[in-house]
Symmetry: D2
Subunit: 371 residues, 4 copies
Amino acid sequence: MSFNTFGHLFRVTTWGESHGPALGATVDGVPPGVPVSEDELQLWMDKRKPGQNRYTTQRQEADLVRILSGTFEGQTTGTPVQLMIENTDQRSKDYGDIAQKFRPGHADITYWQKYGIRDYRGGGRSSARETAARVAAGGIARAALKVLAPQVEIVGYMTQIGPYGIERTRFDWGQINENPFWCPDATAAEEWAGYMDKLRKSGNSVGAIIEVVARNVPAGLGAPIYAKLDTDLAAAMISINAVKGVEIGEGMNAACLTGEENADEIFLGNDGQPVYSSNHAGGILGGISTGQDVVVRFAVKPTSSILKTRQTITKTGEAAEIITKGRHDPCVGIRAVPVGEAMMACVILDHILLQRGHIGGAVGETRGRIG
Amino acid sequence: MSFNTFGHLFRVTTWGESHGPALGATVDGVPPGVPVSEDELQLWMDKRKPGQNRYTTQRQEADLVRILSGTFEGQTTGTPVQLMIENTDQRSKDYGDIAQKFRPGHADITYWQKYGIRDYRGGGRSSARETAARVAAGGIARAALKVLAPQVEIVGYMTQIGPYGIERTRFDWGQINENPFWCPDATAAEEWAGYMDKLRKSGNSVGAIIEVVARNVPAGLGAPIYAKLDTDLAAAMISINAVKGVEIGEGMNAACLTGEENADEIFLGNDGQPVYSSNHAGGILGGISTGQDVVVRFAVKPTSSILKTRQTITKTGEAAEIITKGRHDPCVGIRAVPVGEAMMACVILDHILLQRGHIGGAVGETRGRIG
Amino acid sequence: MSFNTFGHLFRVTTWGESHGPALGATVDGVPPGVPVSEDELQLWMDKRKPGQNRYTTQRQEADLVRILSGTFEGQTTGTPVQLMIENTDQRSKDYGDIAQKFRPGHADITYWQKYGIRDYRGGGRSSARETAARVAAGGIARAALKVLAPQVEIVGYMTQIGPYGIERTRFDWGQINENPFWCPDATAAEEWAGYMDKLRKSGNSVGAIIEVVARNVPAGLGAPIYAKLDTDLAAAMISINAVKGVEIGEGMNAACLTGEENADEIFLGNDGQPVYSSNHAGGILGGISTGQDVVVRFAVKPTSSILKTRQTITKTGEAAEIITKGRHDPCVGIRAVPVGEAMMACVILDHILLQRGHIGGAVGETRGRIG
Amino acid sequence: MSFNTFGHLFRVTTWGESHGPALGATVDGVPPGVPVSEDELQLWMDKRKPGQNRYTTQRQEADLVRILSGTFEGQTTGTPVQLMIENTDQRSKDYGDIAQKFRPGHADITYWQKYGIRDYRGGGRSSARETAARVAAGGIARAALKVLAPQVEIVGYMTQIGPYGIERTRFDWGQINENPFWCPDATAAEEWAGYMDKLRKSGNSVGAIIEVVARNVPAGLGAPIYAKLDTDLAAAMISINAVKGVEIGEGMNAACLTGEENADEIFLGNDGQPVYSSNHAGGILGGISTGQDVVVRFAVKPTSSILKTRQTITKTGEAAEIITKGRHDPCVGIRAVPVGEAMMACVILDHILLQRGHIGGAVGETRGRIG
């Protein structure tokens, strides 16, 4: 990963600020012959779009994505796909009174220190609007996966909001799209709604945990040592705004387990192929996919823009108080769900391309066979 | 990061297997004029070396590092530094009976599936011996930091072993080198010793959490969006063998906090420069260092090689039982401490070079000034 | 260099096709605080713009460049600069009759074989329109050089068109902008005009040689072995459409020289710094700039689209004849001059950033001093 | 290409100096299951080895290559292959009297300026000994090509030495191994022998042109725009020590041709696949291979170390005279032939891997079919 680009063969470079004319992604390494359309991409964009319910920012952005290059007659050509999203609801004035003050918990102060530039219009490049470009790029990755590995399914959902986690025994895939939190536990979703209503009214915000699962990922993806599938997934997720932790499988909890508890035992399935007694590994051993579900989890910190008075300083070195008005997500984690899915799609596709480049064979085929 | 290389300007490529003639690191992008010696590197190697106490593997490796290139008259020349560590205590016979079976929790099965090669001599490239090369490379990074940013201090320690965490109120920097666990809490260290003795005798293993802190890191390091300091640190840490989770500052716990609790307030220090009320951010905002301590934490899963009977399968597709004898670390997390420090050193140095390349100015100088 | 990106720290990714809605460049690694404006970039664009005289294609393109990101209040912010150029005069119908046939000397057949896509609308991604994006990116590089190394001057010119070369004794910097060929030899320029008029009327085309010189480049740029300044310059130039050869200093002619003739002798200048008796080396020794003029030369093949009947085949495997009507440059080399300059600017800037990243010091300062 | 690494998926990093303990190459991205042996690599090493006849340096180096990693039971494992060549005949004393003086035409002065280090022991990293590592890496590439694309043949030869070129009508593949110049024209080889004998005795040196051809390269290799096959080949060749110019197909001569002369007409072969009337393009159109012979040519400047008195300066800024005694190649171009072949092998293999990664399909299969 270098600066504003991630990926090895499927390479995504995002560009743009929250308050410039547009932002987008330059997507290189897209395989040719993949059917894509702006309409199909828009479905993913709409999942992330602000203003869809009372738990997300009320900024109104159509987030319409345009394909400027890399397709011909509805198919990718193998050349770079440029995806552009125009900014339409910028209201810089909302941010006027923070031009001189650094918002605590924001990148204002570090961007100022690093670049000597204070783009006060809403965070500039550090704004979570950048994630719109990721979702667009993820749409391209999904379209390519549909052709190359149609069995792969990628689903993200929230597992915790503030102190309230889901109950795994109530986990229901069917619930994820049925509530504003992408929550697989209907009971928790109700609990969260009540909690969030209070929180929002108090002008406060809260963190969250998102889990993204990729199912039916072929065994063999991932290239040790520094392009392990888990390394690339962790980097992809923690590069998302406000993410402070990332886990594969058992994650931090692996510390508490013994070897006997943790190592997934291996059995033979009816097809003579390996099945595992459990998935503590999150579908990855030695940086390479096992064929089990690939499970990644990440924590999103609470939005730092809150309606609470906070202590800060100004560019000119004076103490100050700040309340960030504007229009903000009380839990930015909610809109991080489709972003996490997009990053998963990009990483999986990238590793499918790497795998067939380095090792060869059809997608999903393993070079070493069992039995 | 690509395959066996990490870093942008300071680039480390590791190579070698646990049971081949040697392993090492090719370190490119080292600034010229840095005093280095094999003796100095050896100090770091010795921290990671196996067989130093009863809580680590009894494999005997001198882990002598040789500098084959890139220095002249005791200083780096600016050209690639080749670091070679010969393998001396290989005892392949210990591994003989696992040649056909896949060890649960190990990379055996995924390497076989991916590469169609079964290097049964102890994990081959997936062995944690690879981390010796990281420690050697980290020694070069430390030597360069001593010249470029001598104020930077990097210290790693364990904060949890199995279910037993340290008590933060008992945290004592002076204790870290006083016990075999690099534990900053003397009471916890004693508790751990008792726990580990029992565990070792039972033939089981356990996971751990390591925290690595870099102090006095200049503000302004890190390049959004996909070369954020936290992204690169997370990738560096999770690329270490057996790491399943990584956290910056509050980490996964950020999910539980409100915005009011989480955002570190900013004040003016006596020198007119920012000081923070707290460090939930782990020293990084928007991917860029704030000047506070950079705090990274990672979980290491329990060693999968244990003296317990486990179910597995063979290459030829038959069910089998396995007990992994050999000489293994009951808690591989202990020896991950110097590895985490080495990765921190490499990432910090790399970002110092990137910063002066992209932005210019002396090391530690910020382009945007406060006051 | 990887796919559609070049550069190390100053990284340019171009995108877009000749007949899509737009094309452009994503420019990453731009130092912050560089004044840039669309008007200033336009000056460079206009040098390359088609239809300016009777020796270039009559396609009418305003080639207006828009800055979509990476600037704030007229200065770069340090984040990616997106440069977009809309295509306005596309006339796909001109290309209608070649949809099934492969034009000899064009990328039609290889793109078809590689991608299985035949974008018949004028070459798609392989069109020389891509070079507009390079010129825009080069404008950003020039703006940055103006701040970082204002003494650097970059000038390109033609030295040969078909069999007619310039006479070095008549070389006059002042003539370069005075004729439609960027020719430094007024006599040759007249000769070329007569030759080109005949050639154009006959429907044929011709090749050319372009020389690009960078003056006052600081000593010390270039990073051996695979990021030598000459390696990067050669790669940059030969990546331009239709370039078939590239030379540094003496170039291919170095084969004919003896060591005594070729090695530039070194003397002391009045300032105690090295001066050279000659510049056979083209300003680069061991991949590193000497401080002399950096001299690169490249040959552009004749435009393959000509009004002559040529033998070819069709996609369906039939023999066919083809005449390429459309609007084409009789000597595409002419418009390659500003493209070569742009590439030189990008490479020099990139190496200035690399140099201060890897070695440190102010721009232009050398670490090793003489005297 | 970045610093000491080249290649996209097949990545070679070289390290080492002429007078350190060893030098070598770290080869990453090698496909698994490729049979390799030190003996087989040695055959290529021996082609480049010094001291084989009176036209090359009399330095005696066995140039024995050791494989330190990345193989198991005689096959590559898919992990990095470390190739080490120990330096045995270093005789630093030969260089003693040049420790203070910069040799004209050498990298001494620029390395000093850049790095502030003067490794006077024979050029250090800038020595042509570095090319031994390329040849070793090329041997790995050749071994992989033998498995993946066994029909590919790579042959290099000299076409010019000083002012004496070969006569194409006398070209005979069978002659190349029959004379000390890898010359395909027996008559020219005799002429060269006489010329070189005189030159050597006079203490002078001379330049040369080398041509490298890859035959039976599948159509479709190369990834526009900045990873064109010609871009990567040009960069690979010009990165070789002393190379000052590089050409694809017609090369610089393309400037002299008209479009009618230059564009290779396309016909149908008996197998219904394209055949070309000529190969002005050097087997590459739009950066992508056509299936014709890939033809690259490069000029090597004369060795700068000659037994002639030359003017120079010292580190301390004094005028001086220098005669470079030591043991030098009177025409370093001779030993550049196997180096050029090695670079061709690396680039072709890399693009085969890229092609199957990005596009898929079996090696040699094209996605777009004709007929």
